[in-house]
């Protein structure tokens, strides 16, 4: 056919091309990608278009607790706020928390586990005992303490970011407008750091065992005999070969962290009222579900769909990335 395909035939199908091919044939995983794309895009893009989505924090008390209608697609809550826009804005926060925190935690976990697994011996022992100690700590309490101790810095961070976008000499109204979208994200920075700093433990264990396994194989021996540096061997040859389990674990971590965010926000760390995340919307909706079920239904629908999709995608990736599965 075309030039490119000829070349790829000559190169032989790479591991990644194989995996992509297998993933495409997995209908559940493909559907999951599709669902995720729709949810992520609508949360990220729709609120950015001027005038399309109502202000998620605008209260209209006389219009409270309305069931879904043409004006308010998902109805209104107990303060007359539009649930549709709250779900979209809340989704932004939940997704941001899920992705950024997972990125932080996986990055730390990969580096820690890879170094421990590659160096072995005393360093490995030391690093893994540190992991043991961190495992033994009560996760929730440590996250709260850590988050609370970083929290005072967020005020400065918020002010600086607002100045950056709105200009330091802008009017109060302009500053407040900028603050409306800057603040929900900057106030979450302690949460990103605190969860990220403590949830890398399992990743590091997985990576370490992978690295130990791969480091004993012949092609690594070959790389070493070529005189490559430890850094190159570790990050160019070993890690790419252990990415499969890491990716799978990552897709399964994101939903867990989204759930954890809901817990923390409820405890006062993280999302501050009147801003919301899916976790907060669900908590508020669950309290009022007998009277106004739509308050619970729509946020749960989005949250559950995202969790399912991420789980299906994770399953699909695990199958697709399994090097032992047959090539076709």
């Amino acid at each position: 056919m075309s030039q490119t395909s000829t070349i790829s035939v000559e190169k032989g199908a790479s591991l990644w091309a194989d995996a992509a091919h297998r993933l495409r044939r997995n209908h559940a995983a493909t559907a999951a990608v599709f669902v995720l794309a729709i949810i992520f895009l609508s949360c990220l893009v729709l609120p950015s278009i001027d005038g399309l989505i109502q202000d998620p924090n605008a209260q209209a008390l006389p219009k409270k607790n309305q069931s879904p209608s043409g004006e308010h697609w998902f109805g209104t809550d107990h303060l007359g706020r539009d649930i549709f826009s709250r779900v979209l804005y809340g989704g932004r926060i939940s997704i941001a928390v899920g992705l950024i925190t997972t990125f932080v935690s996986v990055t730390i976990g990969i580096c820690w586990g890879a170094i421990a697994g590659y160096l072995r011996g005393f360093v490995d022992d030391l690093m893994m005992r540190i992991v043991d100690i961190l495992y033994a700590m009560p996760f929730l309490i440590v996250v709260i303490l850590l988050g609370k101790s970083i929290e005072p810095m967020t005020t400065d961070l918020t002010n600086n970011t607002v100045d950056l976008f709105a200009g330091a000499d802008s009017s109060v109204a302009e500053q407040n407008a900028t603050r409306t979208w800057v603040e929900p994200i900057t106030t979450l920075v302690p949460l990103f750091i605190a969860i990220g700093a403590l949830s890398w433990l399992t990743v590091s264990r997985i990576v370490r065992s992978q690295v130990q396994n791969i480091a004993r194989q012949d092609f690594i021996e070959a790389a070493r005999s070529l005189g490559l540096s430890h850094f190159t061997i570790l990050f160019k040859h070993i890690l790419p070969n252990s990415l499969g389990p890491i990716i799978v674990y990552t897709t399964l971590t994101i939903p867990g962290i989204m759930l954890f965010e809901a817990t923390l926000s409820f405890l006062g760390l993280g999302v501050r009222p009147p801003n919301s995340s899916w976790g907060i919307l669900i908590e508020e909706g669950a309290n009022r579900m007998t009277a106004n079920p739509w308050l619970l239904f729509f946020p749960s629908l989005f949250f559950a769909a995202t969790l399912f999709a991420l789980n299906f995608l994770g399953d699909g990736l695990r199958d697709a990335l399994d090097p032992k599965s047959s090539k076709d």
């Binding site: 209260q59 409820f266 009147p274």
Partner: protein, 532 residues
């Protein structure tokens, strides 16, 4: 597929096979009253607490000189005292104790126990947060503030084992009613001293296994954040007339959870009912819903030692920007928009000074140096339970809309919510106050300097002078007029922003007998009984 079906049907079949009797049905059989009590108590030492959840427990474990009546707020029943009398001008009172009065360990309750209790409450080093409730006693305030050190000068004496004599600094016609408040309850001298000194705060004496009371019930189990169980106290002097075998207090902080527990047959009564559930309950379960008047005010407490909040103009502006009628119509349903701090009480009705006037609010805020909210510090408002979040978010939106002021909302559990306010470690707090007795001073006296329930950092010499003067007035109408003046000063200064006047909404099983609407909501536990 079969496994999936099994997964789905198994829980269902378990659920349906568990259609046994509800907890309430079993409790009815056993004569046990199940009550939602909102929060884990800070302590059971009633000289160290200030909250309503604690008062419910204390009322079961202890008894004051005068008892509550099940039907009328104004009716006095014998309590630890069998009878009482006063001199002509209502300043000297003699209480005759129950000859059969005993602590729950069998020791007799004596007049000395009361003298010891009031001495402990007033001991400066104990720093009891509610000591002011005893300031009606002659020289009590002086002793509490270390102006005198000789307790024999304080107007409390044990004439003999069963006779207590109290001399007041001013005429107090409502003294019998006052002694129904838990600050006037006795503590067991022999047990308190066994676990520490008279001035030791939070000793073990009030813990499970040690605590001894003179009330109709005794503590038998205390599982933190789960349940507090009390059973009938066999040594209680009126044990024959106690209608319940026991009470279980459940500290359910989330009122939505509490309402669900009630509707699932796990509680006889709830502590409260979130206002947004009233409509559904009214339609679906009208037999459970209770809506009753209650002397109480919800307000926002301000820390007037914080910059900006130390300026009365700013506080006025915050108050003027609150649209109270809107709030009460759509969020605090059933509550009335507050027009001042004290709700109407008998012949006392304060001047209706509070209004919604965003125009004037903006002007005052600009005068104070924060035009359009520019440069206003970022403060956060404490709330103690999720149901308070709706009204807090509404206030947040009103201040943002009308004043350009941004306020955060912070949730704390009951204990740290109270501590933060007592140590002035807060900016604003959404709070409420329930009257302790039927007199406006229960709302006004707390805003004086050093009062354990003030917690605003605000005090005013003129305000305190008028209160003192009012206390000396013999003519009731003159006294109320003076109190009205004091309230005007308070509302001009606004160290607190009244929001609404309570009504009490809650759920009650119809088979609970002896439970009648009471303004102060102090239902005597011994009068309750359960119909099977």
């Amino acid at each position: 597929m079969r496994r999936l079906l099994l997964c789905l049907t198994l829980p269902l079949s378990i659920l349906t096979s568990c259609q046994k009797e509800t907890e309430v049905a079993r409790a009815n059989r056993e004569g046990i009253f199940l009550m939602g009590n909102s929060a884990e108590p800070k302590s059971l030492d009633h000289q160290m607490v200030t909250g309503v959840p604690e008062s419910k427990l204390v009322g079961a474990l202890f008894e004051g000189l005068v008892g509550d009546d099940a039907v009328g707020d104004d009716v006095m029943q014998p309590g630890a005292a069998a009878s009482w009398s006063s001199n002509e001008d209502l300043t000297e009172w003699t209480f005759k104790l129950q000859p059969e009065g005993r602590w729950s360990d069998g020791e007799p309750v004596t007049a000395n126990d009361f003298v010891f209790s009031y001495r402990r409450m007033l001991t400066p080093d104990l720093a009891a947060p509610y000591a002011e409730m005893l300031y009606f006693i002659e020289n009590a305030e002086e002793f509490n503030k270390e102006q005198i050190t000789d307790f024999s000068k304080v107007g409390v004496k044990a004439l003999d084992d069963l006779t207590l004599f109290i001399k007041l600094k001013e005429p107090v016609p409502f003294l019998p009613s006052l002694t129904r408040h838990y600050t006037w309850f006795p503590v067991p001298k022999h047990v308190v001293l066994q676990h520490g000194d008279i001035a030791d705060r939070f000793t073990d004496w009030s813990e499970l296994g040690h605590i001894v009371g003179n009330g109709p019930f005794k503590l038998i189990k205390w599982r933190f954040h789960d349940v507090i169980e009390v059973d009938q106290n066999p040594y209680y002097w009126d044990a024959a007339n106690v209608g319940l075998n026991g009470i279980r207090f459940f500290p359910i902080e989330n009122p939505y959870t509490e309402a669900r527990a009630f509707l699932a047959g796990q509680l006889h009564t709830t502590y409260t009912l979130p206002t947004d559930l009233i409509r559904t309950v009214k339609e679906d379960y009208p037999e459970y819903l209770r809506q009753e008047p209650y002397v109480g005010t919800t307000f926002v407490r301000l820390n007037t030692t914080r910059p900006a909040l130390d300026d009365a103009r700013v506080r006025q502006a915050l108050s003027l920007a609150i649209n109270r009628p809107l709030l009460c119509e759509f969020i605090m349903e059933g509550y009335a928009p507050a027009k001042s701090l004290t709700p109407k009480m008998g012949s006392y009705e304060p001047n209706p000074v509070l209004e919604f006037n965003p125009e004037k609010a903006r002007k005052l805020l600009a005068e104070a140096g924060y035009p359009e909210g520019a440069g206003f510090p970022r403060y956060s408002m404490l709330i103690s339970r999720p149901s308070a979040r709706a009204s807090a978010e509404a206030l947040q939106a009103m201040w943002k809309e009308h004043l350009g002021i941004l306020v955060d909302i912070q949730n704390k559990d009951w204990g740290s919510y109270i501590s933060a306010q007592q140590s002035l470690d807060f900016d604003m707090a959404s709070a409420g106050w329930i009257g302790d007795y039927l007199d406006p001073t229960t709302f006004l006296n707390m805003w004086t300097e050093g009062n354990g329930n003030n917690n605003t950092g605000w005090h005013d010499a003129e305000f305190e002078r008028i209160l003192d003067e009012a206390a000396q007035k013999a003519e009731p109408q003159d006294r109320l007029d003076m109190l009205k003046q004091a309230e005007d000063i308070l509302m001009k200064e606004q160290p607190l922003l009244p929001v609404s006047w309570y009504s009490r909404n809650y759920l009650l099983q119809p088979n609970v007998k002896g439970w009648h609407p009471l303004l102060l909501d102090n239902h005597p536990w011994k009068a309750l009984s359960l119909e099977p």
